[in-house]
């Protein structure tokens, strides 16, 4: 019941935006801007630049909202637009693929323990510290649900490069998580 009401509200908002109603546009912006800003910050390290990307993304969303035909979730559609815009920014501004040899960690951290101790903001920081190539592939694959084929097409790289970037990103994140775990253990002791 609650889901149906939410869907009806969302449809109303979308229709309002398709008619270029400013109030509907603002309401839609308020609903999704925080989440989408977080997404932008995962891809674009600098917060100010991430905000610019978000502004461009929402401008495009309102311009192209007529193209959304109700297939798939609306949030998913918005998410794709914002990811594409972030990638456009990265292509324009950064050297994407920094190769780094990272040794695989010997053992896994305790994710359950870390989950209670670490906040989302801490994880955001960890992702932001990744080299841009790793960060992009990890964000796309692990969090935003792109396949290696899609990543390869979007970034103009081979699927194998995408896979190797992902495994290196994972190795780096794992190392950092273990360091944090060590610190936490030392604190409790």
């Amino acid at each position: 019941m609650g889901f149906q009401i939410y869907r009806a509200k969302e449809t109303e908002l979308i229709e309002g935006c398709q008619r270029h109603n400013r109030e509907a546009q603002q309401a839609l912006y308020r609903t999704y801007s925080g989440k989408m800003y977080s997404l932008c910050c995962r891809y674009v390290k600098d917060r100010m630049e991430a905000e610019d990307v978000l502004v461009t993304s929402f401008t495009k969303i309102f311009e192209k909202i007529g193209q959304y035909k109700g297939e798939g979730s609306f949030e998913g559609w918005i998410r794709r637009v914002v990811v594409n815009e972030s990638l456009t920014y990265l292509r324009r501004n950064k050297n994407m693929y920094l190769e780094m040899d990272i040794e695989a960690a010997a053992y896994e951290p305790d994710y359950h323990k870390l989950d209670t101790q670490l906040e989302a903001d801490d994880l955001m920081k960890m992702i932001e510290e990744l080299p841009v190539g790793y960060r992009t592939v990890f964000n796309m694959y692990a969090i935003d649900g792109f396949s290696h084929q899609e990543i390869a097409d979007q970034l103009g790289i081979s699927e194998n490069t995408s896979k190797s970037q992902l495994s290196r990103a994972r190795a780096l994140l794992q190392k950092k998580l273990m360091e944090i775990e060590k610190e936490l253990i030392q604190k409790t002791n």
Binding site: Y111, L123, I143
Partner: protein, 230 residues
């Protein structure tokens, strides 16, 4: 192991949101109104251009109508000359008229003609359609043609060899196809009885029968005899 990291980050970050400055919405609004203004200007420009195009088209059509009217009046003047009865026109005048008609048709329906015989072809084209009254004139014309021994044109009916001692003379007659692709000319021609006669004669010659064909054969025979005597 790898999926656990992915899942860990996904669970924590997928629904995560960050606070955003109020300025961001103002920027989005500014962008949208800017785009709207651009769209309005584009629409205005498109309307202006289409309006200009339509006016140019209407103007050019009016011009065409005026020129057509002038041409039509000229044609009607020409037509009144043609409408004179054939018996009243002197034979020389008639010949000229026929020539000009043939020229018109030949320009409309070009046929392969060898360059050296192009001028004489015009005369040659006329010869079969001259009515029997102008017999003497046709003799002169045909003599001229015979001096040109070979005239290669699109063949219709190769004819007569007078004697075996002489070189074989091949004469070929080409007639313009009287097709229905001459709507204006034929319509005006059909009105005049003289031109209708000419039309019928031309058909007879084309088919290879009728009095004109016989006269032509006789004349050729005579001229060959003459040249033999020479």
């Amino acid at each position: 192991m790898e999926n656990k990291i992915d899942q860990f980050f996904k669970d924590k970050l997928e629904g995560h949101s960050l606070p955003l400055s109020e300025e961001a919405w103002a920027k989005v609004e500014a962008n949208l109104s800017k785009k709207n203004n651009v769209a309005i200007w584009r629409i205005a420009a498109a309307i202006l251009i289409t309006g200009a195009l339509i006016s140019v088209i209407i103007w050019s059509q009016r011009d065409n109508k005026n020129t057509e009217h002038v041409i039509a009046t000229k044609k009607s003047n020409k037509g009144s000359v043609k409408e004179k009865p054939a018996s009243q026109i002197p034979s020389v005048e008639k010949k000229e008229q026929i020539k000009s008609n043939n020229k018109k048709t030949s320009t409309k329906m070009p046929q392969p003609v060898s360059p050296q015989s192009e001028d004489k072809m015009e005369e040659k084209e006329i010869t079969p359609i001259i009515p029997p009254e102008t017999k003497e004139e046709t003799v002169v014309v045909i003599k001229e043609i015979i001096q040109d021994e070979k005239i290669n044109t699109k063949a219709t009916s190769p004819t007569t060899i007078a004697s075996t001692k002489q070189k074989p003379i091949k004469l070929e007659f080409t007639l313009e196809g009287f097709s229905s692709e001459q709507p204006v000319a034929t319509a005006s021609e059909e009105k005049s009885s003289g031109l209708k006669k000419v039309w019928d004669l031309a058909r007879e010659v084309k088919n290879g029968d009728g009095p004109v064909h016989e006269i032509k054969n006789e004349l050729f025979a005579l001229s060959f005899k003459k040249s033999k005597n020479q």
